[in-house]
Point group: C2
DNA sequence: CAGTTTTTGAGGTACGTAAATCAGAAAATT
DNA sequence: AATTTTCTGATTTACGTACCTCAAAAACTG
């Protein structure tokens, strides 16, 4: 039978109240007594029944998620996952609200964070945009004792507790590895399309991609990166133009959003001369394109995992617990048309 | 505030006991009253507090995991994950024991299942071996009212409730897709190494692999499958021999275990003429080989996911709940050297 | 209508922990 | 030695649900 606090009290020869004081770090226990209780805890192998503890505590965690209000499929997916978490909030003793901010707007983000701080939630998760204002706002949140996690895009060097997202450098390397191998031994050009070089995750992906291309695939020449602000129609134009200009493009890496436009542009090309395409995020568009053969591989970060990880970490931080890094690592999933979920 | 049973009782104008009867499907409630209560439940949006319910029930689920007692890394991984689940058993109200059986031995497996049935656990998970005895034993388990799940290797056509494992057909297709693309436009032979064609998962992987090779890569000719009984030293010999015999082998698909032997054999080949290698299961061996460049891609099924899924399903089945298919689908992970976890 | 059966109410105990109060014991201080 | 301070014990209530008993009311039966 699983030991309970009563068993510990009996085994340590103390009262329930003292065990409680030790377990919950309350004052008023002599050092020797505390040790005796801890000894009993470890020798009996006691583990707190979290369900019962939560029930008794009746504690609820209040969190805020700050998300950019633009509508690419991936962000919609993130929002859906946060909504799903909200709908589970009863069972998980959380109270989560979503705050929308304009995308790529550091002052607006910093503003939102400051307004949230006034409400004194237990934790905040946000999609980072780089900017000194944001760093400062994060600092203020932390000073107020609020747990802070970045989501999808990180803000290194700030006081944030955790980043719930993928290693974008590794993602870029993976993309290069895949694309380089897929083109076989052929020579040719590789085009790269990003959303914006002002966003950290896109920059890091590009770095990783360029590094592996240089190391492992010297026969492929990577064209200067094009930016399409994650806009499908702009992306379509840009891709069409570059494919026309350089007929020897044999590979395309789309490291941002706006894949609908890319698929559209690629479909226009005759199948024999179509470039190989590696893109990010498994959405309805990329999924269909994989099946149709217009995209060859998709790298994905699981929005559900990211959101749940962020919540877990914020909860833990609110209780002063450390992050279990291995558990919170978000994987870079590779999907081909045959292993789609 | 989240509504409780008390709120429902008040809102429906009935007593707590009646609400309890409705909630837990106990008899002794008039149809009209039951409807009134259900109406209150849905209008208040009541959801049962699972933690409190479990606490009150004090129910524990007893499960048995039947695993083959041979020591390839993947099976060790599965066993570790079951051990991990055992160590969590306090918090998860489960009581799990592991039963070891000789591998590839249908009568022994059937025997073990029958012995387990005598103990009347709530559920059984096992790595299937094909055989009429096993089908029959599963039938007996189900008749006794025990939930049954297959793990890693399935037993279609039996009465099992669930299969916790990957779609091996899709895994084979994915492997072919990767390998076919990696070799570029070159012609050549592809060698395939399996553990045993008597095991269902290996057979299915081969089918999927051969199908895609035929459809999409007609310039590659797939050699007859070799069997090495998941034995590293045997695998090393077999691979060395076939590579010697057919110098134009440009790709190798290892769809079983024993990768240590394959890595060993491939290391002997001069780097310029090494075949591309796709293998299964991310282990210490395959991980190191990926880094070293001896293996080019690894397909993986996450042992932790599989074990946890099996437990979730067995719990649900023990309570008569349906399986949420989307939640229990085990993904086929692809790892290159750059996206390893 | 009385008698029987079914339905309902009221109340309690239990699960394992948290958190509080209050009294008493032990230790430290004066 | 007296006083204050610091510990500790004993006990109680609460969290939300499950499950039990017993009595009372309501609904049927003939």
């Amino acid at each position: 039978m699983k030991p309970t606090v009563h068993d510990i009290a009996r085994s340590a020869g103390v009262s329930l109240a003292t065990v409680d004081r030790v377990l919950n770090g309350r004052p008023g226990v002599r050092h020797v007594t505390r040790e005796r209780v801890e000894q009993a805890i470890s020798s009996l192998g006691y583990v707190r029944d979290v369900a019962a503890a939560n029930l008794a505590k009746g504690r609820t965690y209040s969190f805020a998620f700050v998300l950019p209000n633009y509508d690419n499929s991936f962000m919609i997916g993130i929002r859906d996952e946060v909504d799903a978490a909200i709908s589970r909030s009863g069972a998980e003793r959380t109270q989560i609200r979503i705050i929308e901010v304009p995308p790529f707007d550091a002052p607006a983000l910093a503003d939102a964070l400051d307004r949230i701080a006034a409400d004194m939630p237990d934790g905040v998760a946000f999609v980072a945009v780089e900017g000194d204002e944001v760093h400062a706002a994060v600092g203020r949140l932390k000073e107020t004792g609020i747990a802070v996690a970045t989501l999808v895009s990180d803000l290194p060097g700030s006081d944030r507790d955790h980043f719930a997202g993928i290693d974008n450098h590794a993602a870029g390397r993976t993309a290069a590895n895949l694309l380089g191998r897929f083109v076989g031994g052929r020579d040719g050009r590789i085009a790269v399309l990003a959303g914006s070089m002002l966003v950290r995750d896109h920059r890091e992906r590009l770095e990783g991609f360029a590094a592996v291309m240089g190391e492992s695939f010297p026969r492929l020449s990577v064209l200067p990166v094009m930016e399409a602000r994650d806009d499908p129609s702009l992306a379509a134009d840009v891709v069409s133009a570059v494919l026309q200009r350089y007929p020897d493009i044999i590979g395309l890496y789309s490291l941002g959003a706006g894949n609908r436009g890319i698929v559209h542009a690629v479909r226009e090309i005759a199948p024999e001369v179509r470039p190989l395409v590696v893109a990010h995020e498994l959405t309805r568009t990329t999924r269909a394109a994989l099946v149709e053969g217009l995209i060859d591989a998709v790298l994905n970060q699981d929005a559900g995992h990211e959101v749940r990880s962020a919540i877990r970490v914020l909860k833990g931080k609110a209780d002063g617990l450390p992050v279990i890094a291995a558990q919170e690592r978000i994987r870079i999933d590779i999907f081909l048309k045959d292993n789609m979920p």
